[in-house]
C-alpha cells in the first residue's frame, strides 16, 4: 500500500481501535465518496457496522467485497474480523483460499486459509494448504499442520477406511523422510506417534518410544507416558508394564495410574496362543518385539502384595496409595477366586479405616469395597462401625465420626426396610452431632467452611429420605430449615445451597431458588454444566406478573457461554496451532463441539421459547423473532449428537445404597434428547403454521410412548399438539382460493393438480372430532389440578399443571391465530370457523379457573399455613435447639416467595389469555 493511502486509512484504524464506530463510519464514507470501490475501506466500514451490531448491512457489504475476490492483506484481515462474528466461516475459507491461490508465496494468507479451514472442519482442503505452505515456506511447522489435519480426517467416522489408510501412509512417509526428527518437540513427537497409531503401526511407534530421545520425552510428559502405556498394552507387553510399574512404585511414585498399571498387569491372563501375544481386539499383529513372559497369576499377586505391604509399613499415614492398592488387590483376588492367603477384605478395610478415618475422603475411598462385601462380612463390618463411639470434640474425632456415620448410612438398607420414622430419628442424631461439633469452627470467618457442615447435609438427606418414603410434608420442611441453618453458619457450603435450591423448587418458592443460585456465583462454562439447577422445566415458574422477567433473563445469561465458546475456543484452536501444541488440538476441537451441541443449550432454548410465548401476546409477533426461533429449533433437530454436559454429581449423594438424592428431589423425570426433539418439533410446526408454512402432521404421542423423559402433563400437551394439527392443519394448508370447498369438507385438492398434503381428505367430521379432544385437554388439566389441590400435592406439581394448561392455550393460540378473524379460508358461520371460536373461548374460560384457583391458593400462604409450618417443624425446636424465630423466619420467607409465585402466575395467565 502506498504511503498516501496508508495515511488516509490511519484515522479509520484509530477510530476502530477506540471503538468510536460513528467516527470510523464517517471516515469510511468520506473516502468512499471519492473512490466508491476501494475494497479495504469498504471492508473497514463493514467491520464498523458489524461492531455496531448493524449485522444485515455489514453482511451485505461483505457480499459486495467478496465478489471482487480481494487479496491484499489489509482487506482480508478486515473481512476476516467482520465475517467471523457473523458466523460466515465458509466465506472466510473461500476468501483466503482464493487469495492464497493468487499469492502462493504469502505465508500469512496461507496460514489464515488453513486456520479458517480448521474452523469449518474442512480437513481435506486444510491438508492441501498445509502441504503447499510447507513446500513454499519451508517451515517444518506446516508439515505438522498438514499432519494434524490428516489425523483429524482419519479420525472422522465419515472417512472411508481405504482413504484413511492412504492418507496416513502418505503422512507417515513424509515423517520418515523429514530432515528434522519429530523428537525435537514433545508435541511433534506426539503427533508422529498418532499417525503411526492411526496406521496400527505399533512396532514403529514402540521403537520410537523406546529410543533414548523417546524415553527422555516420556519422562517429562505424562501425556506421552500414557500413550507409551497404551502402546505396550496394544502388543500385550504386560510383563514389561508390570516391571516398569513395580519399579516406579518402589521408587515412591504414588500416582494411582501406576498402581492401576501394576494391578492390571497382575491379573491379566497370559497370552493365549503358544506364548504369542494376542492383542485385545483380536486383530492379527506383526510379530511383537521380544517380550518377557508373565509369571503365573498367584506369583504376581504375591509380588504386588509384597510391594504394597512394604510401602504401607514405610509411609504410614502419609500416603493412601499403598493401602488402597492392597484393598484393590484383595477385591480383584476375590473376583477371580484366587487363593492369596491375605487377610479377609473386611479386615483390611478395618485397618484402612483406622489409618485414614481422619481424612474426609475415607468414605469415598471405601465405598467400592463396601459394595464388594458378602452378607456375613457386611454384618461384621457394620458391627465394627457401630463399635466406635461418636466423638466430635476434636477436628480429628469429628472427621472420623463423619466417615463412620456416612459408611453406616451407606449400607443402612441391610437393617431391614427403611422406615420414615427411622430416617427422621437418624436425622436428629446427625443434628445432635452437628450441634455438638459446631464449637470447633466458632472462630472461623463466615466465608470459611465449617468442619461440621456435612452433619447438617446428612440430616437434610435423611429427612428427604423419610419424605420420599411416605410423602409427609413435615420432613421436607424440616430439611429446608436444616439447610438454611447450615448455610447461616457456613455461607460457602455449596452442597447445602444447591440441595436447598432443589427443595425450594419442589415447594414452589421460585424467587428463593434464583436467589440461592445467584449466590453460588456460577460463571462462564459452569452455565452449561450447572444451569440445569434452576432452568430445568423452568417454564413451571416463569409465568408471573408483568415486568418480572427473571427466568427469561437467567436463560439469556446462561446462554452467553455458547456464543463465547464459538469465538474463544476457536481462537484458542488457532493459538494451539501457532504454538504447535498438537496434543491439545483434538481436545479443543472436541470441547468446542461439546459445548456447541450441548443438550443443555437446547433445553434452555426450548424453555426460553416456552417462557416467551407464555409471556408475550401474539400481537407482538414481530417482537418474538419467530424466524430466528424457527432457525434455532431446526438447528436443535439437525445435530448429529447432543452431548449432555450437565454436572449431576455436584450434589453429593449421601443416601443409602440404591437411593439417589437427585432423583428424590427433581421436578419430574430427567429431560434429555427425546424431550428436546419432541418439544422442538412441536414448536417448529406451530410457529411455521403462523407464517403459513405447513408440513404433514406427524403424531408425537406415539413417538414418545416408550420414553421416560416426560411428565404426565407434558404427555397431554404433546397429544394436544397432535390434535390441534388434526383439527386445523388440513384446512389451513389448503390454497386460499380453494378454501370455500375445504370449509365444506368436500375438498379434493388433487383435482386441480395442486399438491396433496395428506393422504386422506380432511372431512369436517374428523376436524370437529379433533376439536372436541382439544377442549377436553383443558377439562382434563383442570380436573387434574383440582385433584392435586385436594390431595395437598407439592406446589410445583400444581404450578406445573397450570403452566402446561397455559402452554396448551399458547399452542391453541398459535394454531388458531390465522383463523381469528373470518378470512377467505374460514367463513363466518362455517362450522369449523365456529369451532375455533368455541375452542378458544373454552380454553380461556378454563384458564381463568386456573388463575382464580392460584389466587385462592396464594391466600393460603398467609399466617395460618405459617403456623402450620412452625408446628410441623416444632421437633427441630424441641429436639435440635433451633430457635423458634429462626424457624418462623424460614417459613415466612418460603411462604412469601410462594405467594409471589402463585399470585404472579395467576395474573400472568389472565394477561396472556385475553
Amino acid at each position: 500500500m502506498d504511503p498516501l493511502e496508508e495515511r488516509q486509512l490511519k484515522p479509520i484504524y484509530a477510530a476502530l481501535e477506540t471503538n468510536s464506530l460513528k467516527s470510523a463510519l464517517q471516515h469510511c464514507n468520506k473516502l468512499l465518496k471519492k473512490r466508491p470501490n476501494w475494497d479495504v475501506v469498504k471492508a473497514l466500514k463493514a467491520l464498523a457496522l458489524q461492531r455496531g451490531l448493524k449485522t444485515d448491512e455489514a453482511s451485505a457489504l461483505c457480499d459486495e467485497i467478496l465478489k471482487n475476490k480481494p487479496s491484499d492483506e489489509s482487506t482480508l484481515l478486515a473481512l476476516n474480523l467482520t465475517l467471523r462474528p457473523l458466523g460466515r466461516h465458509q466465506d472466510i475459507v473461500t476468501l483466503y483460499d482464493d487469495a492464497f491461490k493468487r499469492h502462493p508465496d504469502n505465508e500469512e494468507i496461507g496460514a489464515q486459509a488453513f486456520l479458517a479451514m480448521i474452523k469449518v472442519r474442512s480437513w481435506k482442503t486444510a491438508q492441501q494448504v498445509g502441504l503447499k505452505l510447507w513446500k513454499t515456506v519451508k517451515h517444518d511447522r506446516y508439515l505438522y499442520w498438514y499432519l494434524m489435519s490428516v489425523t483429524q480426517q482419519a479420525a472422522d467416522p465419515e472417512t472411508p477406511d481405504a482413504m484413511r489408510k492412504v492418507l496416513l501412509n502418505v503422512a507417515a512417509r513424509y515423517l520418515a523422510t523429514a530432515d528434522v526428527p519429530s523428537w525435537v518437540a514433545t508435541d511433534r513427537f506426539y503427533l508422529h506417534i498418532s499417525v503411526l497409531l492411526g496406521l496400527d503401526d505399533v512396532e514403529t511407534a514402540r521403537q520410537l518410544m523406546k529410543s533414548q530421545k523417546g524415553e527422555e520425552l516420556c519422562r517429562n510428559s505424562l501425556a506421552l507416558e500414557q500413550t507409551r502405556a497404551e502402546l505396550a498394552q496394544k502388543v500385550s507387553d504386560w510383563e514389561g508394564e508390570r516391571r516398569r510399574a513395580r519399579g516406579k512404585i518402589e521408587q515412591g511414585d504414588f500416582n494411582w495410574t501406576i498402581y492401576l498399571a501394576l494391578l492390571d498387569s497382575t491379573f491379566v491372563a497370559p497370552p493365549s496362543v503358544n506364548g504369542q501375544a494376542v492383542p485385545p481386539d483380536g486383530e492379527a499383529e506383526k510379530k511383537p518385539d521380544a517380550m518377557e513372559e508373565l509369571p503365573p497369576v498367584p506369583e504376581r499377586v504375591s509380588e504386588a502384595q509384597a510391594v504394597f505391604s512394604k510401602l504401607v509399613a514405610s509411609v504410614g499415614r502419609k500416603e493412601r496409595a499403598p493401602s488402597l492398592g492392597l484393598l484393590e488387590l484383595e477385591k480383584r483376588v476375590r473376583a477371580q477366586q484366587i487363593a492369596s492367603g491375605s487377610p479377609a477384605l473386611v479386615d483390611q478395610m478395618t485397618v484402612y479405616l483406622e489409618k485414614f478415618s481422619e481424612k474426609p475422603c475415607c468414605f469415598d475411598d471405601l465405598k467400592p469395597y463396601v459394595e464388594a462385601l458378602d452378607e456375613k462380612e457386611l454384618v461384621k463390618w457394620t458391627d465394627h462401625l457401630r463399635s466406635w463411639t461418636p466423638d466430635v470434640t476434636t477436628l480429628q474425632a469429628l472427621e472420623t465420626t463423619m466417615n463412620i456415620q456416612k459408611l453406616l448410612r451407606y449400607r443402612q438398607t441391610i437393617e431391614g426396610d427403611l422406615a420414615p420414622e427411622k430416617e427422621a430419628e437418624q436425622a436428629f442424631a446427625y443434628l445432635k452431632l452437628y450441634r455438638d461439633a459446631l464449637p470447633l469452627g466458632k472462630d472461623l470467618r463466615p466465608v470459611e467452611l465449617q468442619p461440621a457442615d456435612d452433619f447438617s447435609f446428612l440430616a437434610a438427606q435423611a429427612l428427604i429420605g423419610a419424605w420420599s418414603l411416605d410423602h409427609q410434608l413435615k420432613y421436607l420442611l424440616q430439611a429446608v430449615c436444616v439447610l438454611e441453618y447450615g448455610l447461616q453458619k457456613s455461607e460457602k457450603a455449596y452442597p447445602l445451597r444447591l440441595l436447598l435450591i432443589c427443595l425450594y423448587r419442589l415447594l414452589g418458592a421460585s424467587s428463593l431458588c434464583l436467589e440461592h443460585y445467584r449466590a453460588t456465583n456460577v460463571r462462564t462454562v459452569q452455565h452449561d454444566t450447572l444451569s440445569w439447577l434452576v432452568l430445568n422445566r423452568a417454564t413451571t415458574f416463569s409465568t408471573c406478573a408483568s415486568g418480572d422477567i427473571s427466568y427469561l433473563t437467567e436463560c439469556l445469561e446462561a446462554s452467553a457461554i455458547y456464543a463465547d465458546n464459538w469465538t474463544e475456543t476457536g481462537e484458542m484452536i488457532t493459538k494451539a496451532f501457532q504454538y504447535e501444541k498438537y496434543s491439545q488440538i483434538p481436545d479443543f476441537l472436541n470441547f468446542e463441539e461439546l459445548i456447541e451441541n450441548s443438550l443443555q443449550r437446547d433445553l434452555i432454548r426450548i424453555e426460553h421459547l416456552r417462557m416467551t410465548l407464555t409471556h408475550e401476546l401474539l400481537n407482538n409477533v414481530e417482537m418474538l423473532g419467530i424466524p430466528q426461533e424457527i432457525q434455532d429449533l431446526e438447528l436443535n433437530l439437525q445435530r448429529k449428537s447432543n452431548p449432555d454436559n450437565r454436572d449431576f454429581s455436584i450434589i453429593p449423594n449421601l443416601q443409602p445404597l440404591g437411593q439417589d438424592i437427585l432423583r428424590q428431589t427433581e421436578l419430574g423425570p430427567q429431560s434429555k434428547v427425546a424431550w428436546v426433539n419432541v418439544f422442538s418439533k412441536i414448536y417448529l410446526r406451530s410457529l411455521r403454521g403462523l407464517s403459513n408454512v405447513h408440513i404433514a402432521p406427524e403424531s408425537f404421542t406415539s413417538s414418545i410412548e416408550g420414553s421416560e423423559e416426560f411428565t404426565k402433563a407434558e404427555r397431554a400437551v404433546i397429544t394436544l399438539s397432535d390434535d390441534l394439527l388434526e383439527w386445523l392443519a388440513p384446512i389451513a394448508a389448503l390454497p386460499a382460493e380453494r378454501d370455500s370447498k375445504a370449509a365444506n369438507g368436500h375438498s379434493n385438492s388433487t383435482e386441480s393438480g395442486s399438491k396433496t398434503l395428506f393422504e386422506t381428505e380432511p372431512t369436517k367430521e374428523v376436524a370437529l372430532e379433533a376439536s372436541k379432544r382439544v377442549t377436553q385437554f383443558f377439562d382434563d388439566q383442570w380436573a387434574e389440578m383440582q385433584k392435586l389441590v385436594e390431595v395437598d400435592a407439592l406446589p410445583w406439581e400444581i404450578l406445573h399443571i397450570a403452566s402446561i394448561a397455559l402452554e396448551g392455550f399458547v399452542l391453541v393460540d398459535l394454531v388458531t391465530y390465522p383463523f381469528k378473524v373470518p378470512s377467505g379460508r374460514a367463513k363466518k358461520g362455517d362450522p369449523v370457523f365456529q369451532s375455533v371460536k368455541t375452542v378458544r373461548q373454552h380454553a380461556v374460560d378454563a384458564l381463568r379457573k386456573f388463575s382464580d384457583e392460584l389466587t385462592r391458593l396464594s391466600h393460603d400462604c398467609g399466617s395460618k399455613p405459617l403456623a402450620d409450618f412452625e408446628a410441623l417443624c416444632a421437633p427441630l425446636v424441641k429436639d435440635a435447639e433451633f430457635k423458634p424465630d429462626f424457624v418462623h423466619r424460614v417459613g415466612k420467607k418460603l411462604f412469601e416467595s410462594r405467594k409471589k409465585m402463585m399470585e404472579g402466575m395467576a395474573k400472568g395467565i389472565v394477561r396472556r389469555c385475553t
Binding site: D187, R219, N220, L222, A223, Q226, F254, N255, W256, T257, Y259, K318, E319, R320, A321, L324, K359, P360, C361, D364, D365, K367, P368, R445, V447, E448, L449, K492, Y494, T520, N521, R523, T524, V525, Q526, D528, T529, L530, I561, D564, N565, E568, T569, E571, M572, K575, A576, Y579, K581, S583, Q584, D587, F588, N590, F591, L594, N645, D647, S649, I650
Partner: protein, 181 residues
C-alpha cells in the same frame, strides 16, 4: 493417592466441585485454553479413583534472562480432598518441569497475604516471600489490606545455584500491582 494427569479441555465440565470455593475463581474459557495451548506440560489435575476431579494446577513459563521462571497461576484442591498431599504432588511436578524442561531459574506464585494456609504450605515446600504486591487482588473478601495484597513467593531451581531468588525480609519489599505483570 490419586491419578495425576495432564489437564484437558474437557475437565472444565467437571471442575465444579473444586471451583465452587471462595478462594478459587472461575475464569473464561480462553483463560484455561490459553494455558493449555501454550504450556500443557504445566497444567495438571488430580483425579480420584472414582473419576471425580480433586484438584488442579495451572502454570506457565515466562520472563527473560535470569528472570526466566516457572509461575503457578492457580492451584486448588476441593475441600473434600485437602490434606492428602495433592497440592504438594502438583507443586513438585511443576518444579520438575520448570527445572528439567524449561531450565528456569526459579518457580514463583502469588498468594493473598490473608491466605495463611497456602502461605504456610508454600513455606513448607521451600518457597519464601520475595516481595509484597500492593493491591494485586482488586477486591478482597472482607479481610482488609491482607486480602487485597499478594505475596510473591519464590523457590530457586538447580539453575539458580547462587540462590538469587531468595532474599531475607522480602515481606518488607513493597511494589505496586501496576508494576507487576
Amino acid at each position: 493417592m490419586s491419578v495425576l494427569r495432564p489437564f484437558r479441555a474437557t475437565d472444565l465440565f467437571r471442575f465444579n466441585n473444586i471451583n465452587l470455593d471462595p478462594w478459587t475463581e472461575t475464569y473464561s474459557i480462553s483463560f484455561y485454553l490459553s494455558y493449555l495451548s501454550r504450556w500443557p506440560d504445566m497444567c495438571y489435575v488430580q483425579e480420584a479413583p472414582n473419576g471425580r476431579l480433586m484438584g488442579y494446577v495451572l502454570g506457565k513459563a515466562e520472563g527473560g534472562g535470569q528472570e526466566f521462571h516457572g509461575h503457578v497461576t492457580a492451584i486448588t484442591v476441593s475441600p473434600q480432598y485437602r490434606r492428602l498431599g495433592l497440592a504438594r504432588g502438583m507443586m513438585r511436578l511443576i518444579e520438575q518441569i520448570s527445572d528439567e524442561v524449561y531450565h528456569a531459574f526459579f518457580v514463583d506464585l502469588f498468594v493473598r497475604c490473608q491466605n495463611k494456609i497456602a502461605k504456610n504450605m508454600y513455606q513448607g515446600l521451600g518457597y519464601s516471600v520475595w516481595r509484597r504486591i500492593i493491591g494485586y487482588y482488586g477486591t478482597g473478601m472482607g479481610g482488609g489490606k491482607d486480602d487485597e495484597d499478594a505475596f510473591d513467593m519464590r523457590k530457586p531451581l538447580s539453575r539458580d545455584a547462587a540462590r538469587r531468588s531468595v532474599r531475607a525480609n522480602g515481606e518488607l519489599v513493597h511494589v505496586s500491582a501496576h508494576n507487576v505483570t
